[in-house]
Point group: C2
Chain length 353, copies 2
DNA sequence: ACGTTCTTCTGTACCGCTACAGTACGGCGA
DNA sequence: TCGCCGTACTGTAGCGGTACAGAAGAACGT
């Protein structure tokens, strides 16, 4: 069967193509009887609706929003687990409410195809990207409106972030209040520059990383606490476990972790060394992922609302699309106290070999 | 500045628009000097490449593939955790290698916007959908080529599945070989029809669910084992824990679980009741997610390669797009024996109150 | 009766690109 | 010298819609 177009329906009903178009896209432009008749005829012909590609060209909007992530999707998303999916879900659902869909913009694999250049989108959400992320320049050149999530603010691109620093401060203050004066920090190492766990120059400089570190240090330094900082990559987990072991050997009475996953590693390592949490050592996570409450003991951590972050990004983007001025968003964080932290046990150092 | 089009570049270089188009899309159609010159001029004008929307209309292909999921993305994906993300990642990466991108097809929220009808796509992957999933009919009417993943085969749509039944058989056989003769099954309840945990009519009838159940029963029945079946919904987890408790109270010496997450629930519940795993009760999971190896004890489970499943779906789709005959795919599963299973402890029933 | 306003439908001109069928011309074999 | 072929470039005709500015007639007020 030949392809069904607006024209073929118009011919069959005996009206102009424009009227058929209106029947689908601007119901107020024609009488409801005629519209009914047109829609019925269209249904008879098996016509579902105006061709989205043609409509996109004519209207100048495609109805999709790109999601740019750094590295292969597998790498960007899979390492951190559930919260990325939660973010993506929130973005998809919220966009859907605004009549749009998300398209994943993978990095360029070959010369011929480059999603950031070749995929039809109206706007883009930039997530988990660093300065070298390929695609950003192309999006910018195409004049695609963007927002970033969890990123150092870039000129001209409204950022959506959480109060990483405030959350970190609250976590550190919590430990200080519990009397901890020798505190370990397990932070994130830049995947691109592996190095010794205590080589702080290899620390990831992305926004959440540096903000969290800043928050911790502000409070710990002000309290004159001793700080032992160690860096670990997200994967493989075995490395994080080793680094955690090293950290615990430094005689700290508490550990502030970059993420719940890291905290999990510390818990496991502590157990393997016969250290009780929180009696011997307190542990604080970050993010309050599902993992946090499920661990044993349940983790004291800093909560962020990942879904809200995704929704805020969409809201900001929609506002931009509507011509409103871009505005930075910072979502609150909240310290959630569970059972992995308690008062400092004095003289833990003395137990060490 | 006015929008830069092929025509504006053509005018500036002094060639026809067609030649500029060829410079970008069919390099073999013009001399390389001219191409160089055109590309340079285009770069000067800030032209990134042909407009994807216009190209889509002219070529008749959009370069995106839809991913249809049931319910809001949040519901479909978030419940099961990591493996969905893994699947999506694999699909995105593999599509990217074929010059395409994934677009998430969310369900219809209002009359005006319906992704399955209104989003420009060349093909679709149907995942985690049931018969009532909205959107399927629209895709079919649009004549969009599809594949399903983890679904009961539908006429005209090539399915990509794993050998759920074989994996379940292997798991059950493993228990039988270990001497278990009273085995619990913790299967998945249909989210749409809540009911008593032992009301088997509320069992989910989707493909993986029914296949796994069939595999378990085949082997257990053949071995004349007693079987106690209980159903739990994916969420909330507390319900699964309750159901697991009930199951353990039935004096089973082993439990076959629909997923690793369920197995996790059984482990936790067992621990809470003072039952040692595997000494008092053996537990088998399904899927071999990251969770499985991380649990204590590490879980005996049935491995499936989720990423391979995603890649296979893309391969099948690409073949269909190329006009090849659709072909069903069944990927192997493999029993992974870890430390949550051991020989049946005789007379466990006697311990019960 | 006549101008005005609404409602309902139509005609034309694109949206920005690509497919395809040329045209022009230099080189090459006989 | 002529025909033939391959290479390099061009002209035209869409792809399937939508925006926008009419046009035609009915309804209405004075």
């Amino acid at each position: 069967m030949a392809k069904v177009t607006l024209q073929s329906i118009a011919d069959k009903v005996g009206v102009s193509r424009m009227t058929v178009s209106n029947a689908f896209s601007r119901p107020d432009q024609l009488s409801s009887e005629l519209r009914r008749k047109i829609l019925d005829t269209a249904a008879d012909l098996g016509y579902v609706g105006p061709d989205p590609a043609a409509r996109a060209l004519a209207r100048g909007r495609t109805g999709s929003v790109g999601m740019l992530i750094n590295g292969r999707v597998g790498e960007a998303f899979a390492t951190d687990g559930s919260s990325d999916l939660e973010l993506l879900s929130a973005v998809a659902d919220e966009l859907s409410a605004h009549g749009m869909a998300v398209t994943l913009l993978t990095p360029q694999l070959d010369e011929k195809f480059f999603p950031a250049r070749d995929v039809a989108i109206d706007a883009a959400i930039v997530y988990s990207c660093n300065a070298e992320t390929s695609g950003l320049a192309e999006l910018q050149q195409r004049g695609i409106p963007m927002v970033t999530i969890d990123e150092n603010p870039r000129p001209g691109i409204p950022p959506v972030n959480i109060d990483d620093r405030g959350g970190a401060r609250a976590a550190a203050q919590h430990l200080v209040d519990l009397g901890h004066r020798r505190v370990g920090i397990l932070a994130l190492q830049d995947a691109e520059k592996p190095g010794a766990a205590d080589d702080l120059s290899t620390m990831s400089v992305e926004y959440p990383e540096s903000e969290r570190m800043a928050g911790w240090r502000e409070v710990l330094d002000a309290a004159d606490a001793e700080v032992v900082t160690r860096l670990a990559p997200l994967a493989p987990r075995s490395v994080a476990a080793e680094v955690a072991a090293d950290l615990l050997d430094q005689g700290v009475t508490a550990v502030l972790c970059f993420s719940d996953v890291f905290a999990h590693g510390v818990l496991t390592t502590a157990a393997a060394r016969g250290l009780r949490v929180p009696d011997d050592v307190s542990v604080v996570g970050f993010d309050d992922t599902e993992l946090a409450a499920a661990l044993n003991p349940p983790l004291t951590t800093v909560r962020q609302d990942v879904a809200a972050k995704g929704r805020a990004a969409v809201t900001t983007l929609v506002a931009r699309l509507a011509g409103q001025a871009p505005e930075a968003v910072v979502l609150p964080t909240e310290l959630v106290i569970r059972r992995s932290t308690t008062t400092a046990r004095p003289g833990r150092q003395a137990d060490l070999p």
